[in-house]
């Protein structure tokens, strides 16, 4: 009985060592707030379909590297970009750590220092320029399909806003 109470009291309050300067930096970045709660149990890796199919990718190990302060290695790696943000792991994490959110924080720091995988960068450039992702894929044939289905063919996307967003937040070092 005492053990049960103890476990309940621990709940989300505890922090676990080691905690590096890098993990504190992640903690202050949007999405990274919960990293110090990780107990390295490995439930994330066990739940992860990417880890299941790709032996290079081990989410627990990536978190461990952050906790240990391996900043350059993590920020320069493509591995944090492999998280599908499917959140299968965080449904199961007993400490309510969201790896999807932590990897967003890692990516935000990596992006600030210019480490964005080229295929991700291409999609980002397209979205910010066109306002959406598939302008180039919208062919006459698809327009005909939409017409047959009684759907509008003018999708009316706005790209002025994303251009403004690019100028304000993305160009010039992503300060915000």
């Amino acid at each position: 009985m005492n053990e049960v109470i103890e476990l309940n009291q621990r709940n989300n309050q505890s922090q676990y060592t080691p905690s590096s300067a890098f993990s504190k930096e992640i903690e202050k970045t949007p999405g990274g707030e919960d990293i110090q709660h990780c107990i390295q149990c490995g439930m994330c890796t066990a739940s992860c379909m990417v880890a299941n199919m790709e032996e290079q990718y081990r989410p627990r190990k990536l978190i461990q590297k952050i906790l240990l302060g391996m900043r350059e290695e993590v920020l320069r790696s493509e591995l944090p970009w492999l998280c599908m943000t499917c959140r299968h792991c965080e449904e199961r994490c007993q400490e309510d750590v969201s790896l999807a959110e932590i990897f967003h924080a890692v990516r935000i720091l990596a992006a600030r220092e210019g480490h964005i995988p080229s295929n991700v960068q291409n999609v980002i450039d397209t979205v910010l320029e066109d306002g959406w992702m598939l302008k180039d894929g919208y062919s006459d044939m698809i327009e005909d399909d939409r017409d047959d289905l009684g759907l509008t063919t003018d999708l009316g996307w706005n790209n002025e806003f994303t251009k403004k967003i690019k100028k304000r937040y993305i160009d010039g070092g992503n300060k915000k």
């Binding site: 199919m53 599908m84 943000t85 992006a111 698809i142 706005n158 806003f161 915000k176």
Partner: protein
């Protein structure tokens, strides 16, 4: 008649317009009118979200503000879009600084986020706004017990406390509607696992392996079809069956939930774009 502002997203109108048409036709049949949102932008999910958080909040925030201007709650039919808008709504409702920042940009075009409009995914419209009883009463041509498996979509159901659609570990909305329409809902190994779609931007081969693993788990249950609630999942679970590495066994038809439900409600096949499916769903429809 209840009304919602429909956000089509990027992928549905181009890659799976039959989903958009089916949503509109089926919801109209069930007493819900949709007004398509105009002058929209990408929700920022995954890509912009990964490089700058304020930029992401502004992009989804603008969509939320457009919904408010229309005076309607928003229906998002894509898992990623609904997840993004719900996440940003949650943040704007709890982070005054972020809301002020986003509203400063939106004010330049006369928009404002105040939190009035809710964001719902399609599954919530079925379970909350229409309800299972009304769906049951509208069935005129029930399926004859055909075995079907549901795939829910990660961003549709997780994180549960923010998206508030279904039980994230044991979702049941699609299964219930399969049964109401006369089908037999069949569970399978890894039901709540990802389709691999979000991996397509990073590693197509890896995305395919993840998707095909799901297909084979479903195939093991000897079902006639897969029912989805997100166009991205639907496209991915279809496409992986055409990969060079795919099995030589027959392809399993994949249908979105409204396209599957439509015929049971007496909606004609053309309005649902059934002929446009890459894997013919005739075994389901005729079954």
């Amino acid at each position: 008649m209840k009304e919602f502002a429909l956000f089509r997203g990027c992928t549905t109108p181009v890659r799976l317009p039959s989903y958009e048409a089916s949503v509109i036709a089926v919801l109209r049949k069930l007493g819900i009118n949709l007004v398509e949102m105009e002058d929209t932008n990408c929700c920022g999910s995954q890509y912009i979200e990964s490089i700058n958080h304020t930029a992401f909040a502004a992009m989804s925030g603008r969509l939320l503000a457009i919904g408010e201007k229309m005076g309607m709650d928003i229906l998002a039919i894509c898992g990623a879009c609904s997840g993004a808008m719900k996440t940003v709504k949650h943040e704007l409702d709890h982070d005054k600084k972020l809301r002020k920042e986003v509203n400063e940009i939106l004010a330049e075009e006369g928009l404002e986020y105040t939190g009035k409009s809710e964001v719902k995914h399609l599954l919530q419209i079925f379970s909350e706004d229409i309800g299972y009883t009304a769906i049951r009463e509208a069935i005129v041509r029930p399926y004859n017990g055909i075995r079907l498996s549901a795939h829910y979509g990660c961003h549709v159901t997780r994180p549960e406390e923010i998206v508030q659609v279904d039980d994230a570990e044991n979702p049941t909305i699609i299964d219930k509607i399969i049964e109401i329409a006369g089908g037999t809902a069949v569970d399978y190994v890894g039901k709540t696992r990802c389709c691999g779609g979000p991996m397509l931007g990073m590693n197509v081969g890896l995305a395919g392996r993840i998707g095909r693993d799901k297909i084979e788990n479903i195939r093991a249950e000897n079902v006639q079809g897969i029912i989805t609630a997100c166009e991205f999942c639907n496209l991915q679970l279809t496409q992986v069956q055409f990969d060079d590495e795919a099995s030589n066994l027959s392809k399993i038809p994949v249908m979105t939930l409204p396209q599957f439900l439509g015929p049971a409600l007496g909606i004609d096949f053309d309005s649902l774009g059934i002929e446009m499916n890459k894997i013919s769903p005739q075994p389901i429809i005729q079954g």
